[in-house]
Amino acid sequence: MIMTKTITIDGNTIPFEDGQTIMEAATAAGVYIPHLCHNPEYTPHGSCKLCTIRVNGRVCSACTFPAAEGQDVLNNTKDLNDDRQKITQMLFVEGNHFCPSCEKTGNCQLQAVAYYLNMFDDHFPLFYPNRNMDASHPDVLIDHNRCIFCTLCVRASQQKDGKDVFAISGRGINKHLIVNAQSGLLKDTDLEASDQSAHICPTGAILIKRTGYTVPIGERIYDHKQIDEVALAESGSRPDSALPPSMAVAKEIDHG
């Protein structure tokens, strides 16, 4: 008989395999842990801190912390969700996020996670940073106002596209996304619209031009489903599609 190793999350016993993070074990077992910088297809980053959990009382990031026998994990608690809501509010006030005028609305994970966490206001004073847009590329737009420094585009470019188009530069509150061109402009990089890195952005910071409204507002992913349902469905058996992840999920949901 094979002994299955287990952890508990909010009192429920969850199996795990050696080498899995707590996020991976939880997702496989159908337990949602809020996250933004995590994407199961890429090396975990651990920076957004939305997946903060308590492991035997200690605060950890679920996306990077390895599962180990006997861990008692707290995830879906009021205290943690209250703090996650505040961390989400921090992401909102730090940038310029105006959902009603953003073409990503309804498909945006930042917005969706905010809904999931019952965020109804900004709570903190807004920073109103002065950030630019880069519309130089024929097919792809960067709106720095919406970047949350999750590095998914950086990782996707390196790990999936075999390129090195994006990087995060700067320090502290002055962090910002840069692109790999002498001119500093996206048009001078080797980015193509079909690259994974052009589609991975959880917010509206990197957008494919001329596709913003092909799916009308009201019919978008998170207009109908909570982000936890979508994330778990996505983790199920989604084929490695060339389509943008958001579209792939939308399709699955349509046909599922």
Partner: protein, 592 residues
């Protein structure tokens, strides 16, 4: 430029790990990092230009636009402020006709603030083109202005401007008896390396950077790793404001520090070591290099040390980033990257420099370990407390008559320390720097110990003329400036803390604002990725706990007030409309 960059890359064997060294030389020559230099360098080092840009934009000592030929930076530590930094800065700006943060029109001189430069016992201090300046006052500024205006090279400036004193006032167990060069290694070899590790274990030595991990255990873990390529790193990125004991250890006891590193290398099986020295201590480099050379000549470093060991040490300089004192950020920096703390596990003992097992210890830890190898574990463990063995070297500064270096057995009371350093009329003491604890004058019977008041060495005394809120304000701004920006709670949280505290200090706080401040503190402390964020709220939390009435008294008796000056915000509009009548002004609140 092409030839210069080519030579520089060649000198550094085209190693991307040497990126900081290379950029330091470029900055030193051009007084900024030209975009063209980045384009030339990237292919030579076989890295992306984005890696170079991210390093340039991360470290305070690199700039992407030209600074003056004389880059003047003035230390912004609270201790410099207490010594009159603020009026002095205005004096410098006026004397040199340069704005703070700006470059003078002729490009000759630039002026800016920098985080604590580690000269708190002889401030106000600064840096000129990276070289430490001490004891700045108006006459000295007048002289410096003259030297700059006449474009006199730094080498021809009066030596006393750069003089850095040790100021050792109270040597204890370690400082009063040094070891003979090579003695620790010889005794370790004679006794056996395993038995020597046991002595270190027996001594109870814990990491002196402040966290206090057991040194023997760290060395043991590293030595047990399957990977045999291992590294020893000495953390001399002494950035905690108010700390300068490593500066003194490296200035006067470098042999013993290097001996401790070599001992560690013998025990864990490392062939290469690094001294990661904060950029502010550039003045120590030549001296340290000659100590390394001497050790090579004595057969205590390099190939065939005591016929048993191959090990060498390389000095690497930082470039102005407090976060690099965090061990995994330091390792990133050693690898030529921005100093962003890694996710743990894996810990550096299993995956450190270049992913290989690495021991990172503080300067004082290696210094003590060498002495323990000579004198034995019991010698060290005979002083201190049950949980904190041995002695601690303190850097004492602030309001006392004898700021400098003091060594005490753990368990010594704060009152004893205050008596020795000549402090009177004391309001409180900041122990362990901004990331540590503020204690009030009701708590001076508390003890120096990991189990009571842990400190990496910073001990700042404040007398009753000082304002608690000024202290919290300085420290809170420091953390916002030094946050690496990796994780949300610290990146955004430290800036929010700064805004919220400013709002209260500037008198715009209203009823709920202290509660909001405290709530924010808890959030940043609980959820931040590394020690910087986890301690960034300590200045507010520890003072708020002790002086709640002080914070409350800053508040206005109204339920809400905006965090900014409404009337001032209208200034631009007034100018554009060319109006200044009563209707063009707004009261801050209806109450007023």
């Amino acid at each position: 430029m092409q030839q210069f960059i080519q030579n520089l890359a060649e000198k550094n064997q085209y190693q991307a790990t040497h990126l900081l060294e290379i950029l330091r030389e470029i900055q030193s020559r051009y007084h900024y990092i030209p975009a063209d230099a980045i384009e030339l360098l990237a292919p030579l080092l076989k890295i992306q230009r984005t890696q170079i840009i991210s390093v340039v934009e991360f470290y305070s000592f690199f700039t992407d636009s030209p600074r003056g030929q004389y880059e003047l930076l003035i230390s912004d530590s609270i201790t410099d402020h207490m010594l009159g930094k603020q009026p002095l800065m205005a004096y410098i700006a006026d004397k040199l006709q340069v704005s703070i943060g700006g470059v003078r029109g002729d490009g000759l001189v630039s002026l800016d603030n920098t985080s604590c430069s580690g000269m708190c016992d002889q401030g106000p201090a600064g840096l000129v083109n990276g070289h430490a300046l001490t004891r700045l006052d108006p006459p000295r500024i007048d002289a410096i202005a003259e030297l700059i205006n006449q474009q006199i090279p730094l080498a021809d400036w009066p030596a006393e401007f750069f003089q850095v004193d040790d100021n050792i006032y109270k040597p204890g167990l370690l400082l009063s008896q040094g070891i003979v060069h090579g003695q620790a290694l010889k005794m370790a070899m004679a006794r056996g390396l395993k038995a020597t590790l046991q002595e270190i274990d027996q001594s109870g030595l814990r990491g002196r950077g402040g966290a206090g991990f057991k040194t023997a255990m760290k060395w043991q873990f590293c030595s047990e790793e399957a990977e045999t390529e291992r590294y020893v790193v000495c953390n001399a990125d002494e950035g905690e404001p108010g700390t300068f004991k490593d500066r003194v250890l490296l200035n006067s006891y470098a042999h013993q520090v290097f001996e401790g590193m070599t001992l560690c290398a013998a025990i864990i099986g490392a062939k290469q070591g690094f001294l990661y020295l904060r950029g502010e201590y550039l003045h120590l480099v030549d001296k340290l290099q000659s100590v390394l050379d001497e050790r090579r000549q004595f057969g205590l470093l390099g190939n065939n040390i005591l016929d048993r060991l191959n090990f060498d040490i390389e000095i690497r300089l930082g470039a102005g980033a407090y976060i690099c004192g965090e061990e995994s950020a330091l390792i990133e920096s050693l690898e030529g990257k921005a100093g962003i703390p890694r996710n743990r596990p894996p810990y550096p003992v299993s995956q450190g420099y270049l992913g290989k097992p690495t021991v990172v210890n503080n300067v004082e830890t290696f210094y003590a370990a060498a002495a323990i190898a000579v004198n034995g574990g019991d010698w060290f463990a005979s002083v201190g407390t049950v949980k904190s063995k041995g002695t601690k070297i303190l850097s004492i500064c602030g309001d006392c008559s004898k700021p400098g270096i003091y060594e005490y057995p753990f368990g010594t009371s704060i009152q004893t320390v205050l008596n020795d350093c000549g402090a009177s009329d004391v309001l409180g003491v900041q122990i362990g720097g901004p990331s540590g604890t503020f204690i009030s004058n009701q708590e001076f019977d508390r003890k120096l110990a990991f189990e009571d008041l842990a400190t990496g060495g910073s001990f700042i005394v404040f007398n009753n003329s000082r304002n608690i809120l000024d202290i919290a304000h300085n420290f809170t701004h420091f953390f916002a400036h030094e946050s690496c920006g990796f994780c949300t709670p610290c990146r955004v949280g430290t800036s929010l803390l700064k805004k919220q505290l400013d709002k209260i200090v500037e008198g715009h706080g209203s009823a709920g604002d202290v509660v909001a401040l405290e709530e924010l503190c808890q959030l940043v402390k609980t959820h931040s990725h590394c020690g910087l964020g986890q301690t960034a709220a300590n200045p507010v939390l520890t003072t708020l706990e002790r002086y709640p009435e002080l914070y409350q008294s800053q508040l206005k008796l109204i339920s809400y007030e905006p965090g900014f000056d409404l009337d001032a915000a209208l200034e631009t509009a007034r100018r554009m409309a060319n109006r200044d009548d009563a209707g063009a002004h707004l009261a801050q609140t209806d109450v007023e």
